[in-house]
Symmetry: D2
Subunit: 136 residues, 4 copies
């Protein structure tokens, strides 16, 4: 199962060199992540406010293959790259209208028990929601 959504490079994502500031690619990826979590029935508002588990990013990386300019519309393909005992990995491909990959992002999220502040096993509901989107 594939999930994709559309994001737009905004003026505040660019810098004086004329193109996307590299850090803004993580903003675009997180916008897509929030839409993906909505799609899974795990809206981020519920994670932040309710529940007992947070999923902070413990590793992130990005590649940049083409300069992106203000107004560029991208399709972001989001997939689950790994599901571990206490973490999961999300991959994002940012595609231009002509299908070229302009960039990609990976984020690794660790399950964290809010009360103790310690790592904890992934809740079964999260594992079940992510499972169908696993694509290595």
């Amino acid at each position: 199962m594939a999930f994709s959504c559309s994001v737009t490079v905004r003026l505040y994502d660019t810098d004086a060199a004329g193109f996307l500031f590299f850090g803004s690619q993580f903003r675009l990826a997180h916008e897509a992540l929030e839409d993906f979590l909505d799609h899974l029935g795990l809206p981020i508002a519920g994670i932040i406010r309710g529940g007992g588990t947070l999923y902070p990013v413990v590793h992130a990386e990005a590649d940049y293959r083409a300069p992106l300019a203000v107004g560029d519309r991208l399709s972001v393909q989001v997939a689950v790259r790994a599901i571990g005992e206490r973490s999961f990995t999300i991959g994002y491909r940012l595609l231009l209208a002509d299908g070229r990959e302009a960039g990609s992002v990976v984020t690794v999220h660790s399950a964290l028990d809010k009360a103790s502040g310690s790592s904890c096993p992934l809740p079964g509901s999260v594992r079940a929601a992510l499972g169908p989107h696993l694509s290595v």
Copy 2:
């Protein structure tokens, strides 16, 4: 003529007090402005790259009437508040799903000739595009 679009409060728009960081309301307004300019046939990519005139913000202000949380979806009503000889003013109302106004923003843009770096008259095409959306 009324223009409105939808924006979402993202995790990166919030801060450790739990709600929208005040500066992020300007991000949301600018997202709406870029959509409005698209709707007018004046996409911001064209303004930045082409043409001879920029429209930098010379004054901005915002009011905050309700706390906004991650995941909140807002309808942003965008209207032209004034058209001057060398500037224009845009107003933004951020509405919650129940119709309450969570906040509002005003931005004043001055026409600037790229070549000289000086203020210049508003181009006729911009005046014509903004006109039908004037609502004081």
Copy 3:
């Protein structure tokens, strides 16, 4: 009593038009506000984590008088513009090295009781700390 601190326009504060993105002036002002609060003995970490009162921004505005570019170093003069029963107002002047004012910002903060989520009187300690910096 005057407080000033130094801030720098960073690459991520600029946009593809080549200069400061207007929203970033609020980032610079907030950097100065956090340094000012430190100076007052009211560090923002203590406000966010401890205590019973928050001071969310209920109104903000900014003027832009000169284009700012990456690497520009600014002196920010911070002063208290008003102290009300339940709110206070901070003013910021952003000065270039040659003394010209490149921009200014005003933020109005309302005292908010964390427990009830309602407006509350300014704590005496905050009133006392702000008082000596009042300059209308």
Copy 4:
């Protein structure tokens, strides 16, 4: 030769989960990078405005080892990890006051000829400036 500078986690770097938003660690690293480039006599303002070569990020990654909160002051150790024919790699270690590493960042920069928009060899002056800071 070691270079380090101090950065502060600001309110706008945090999110509603209460700690640093992961993307903000790249903002902190870039603040340190700009200070490092200044130290090398290669200020970013000069790179953006003048010269014929830009150094866009083609790969970035970060690890997160401890939650960071608003007000945390970090020492960032910046070092050159690699110098290639057409690229260089910078490493950043973010250290808490007690010496623990809260996080780390790596950015890989490719030399890009502004006129042609193509990859080009690293200018000798840049190679010479980076050399003494090489530490693998």
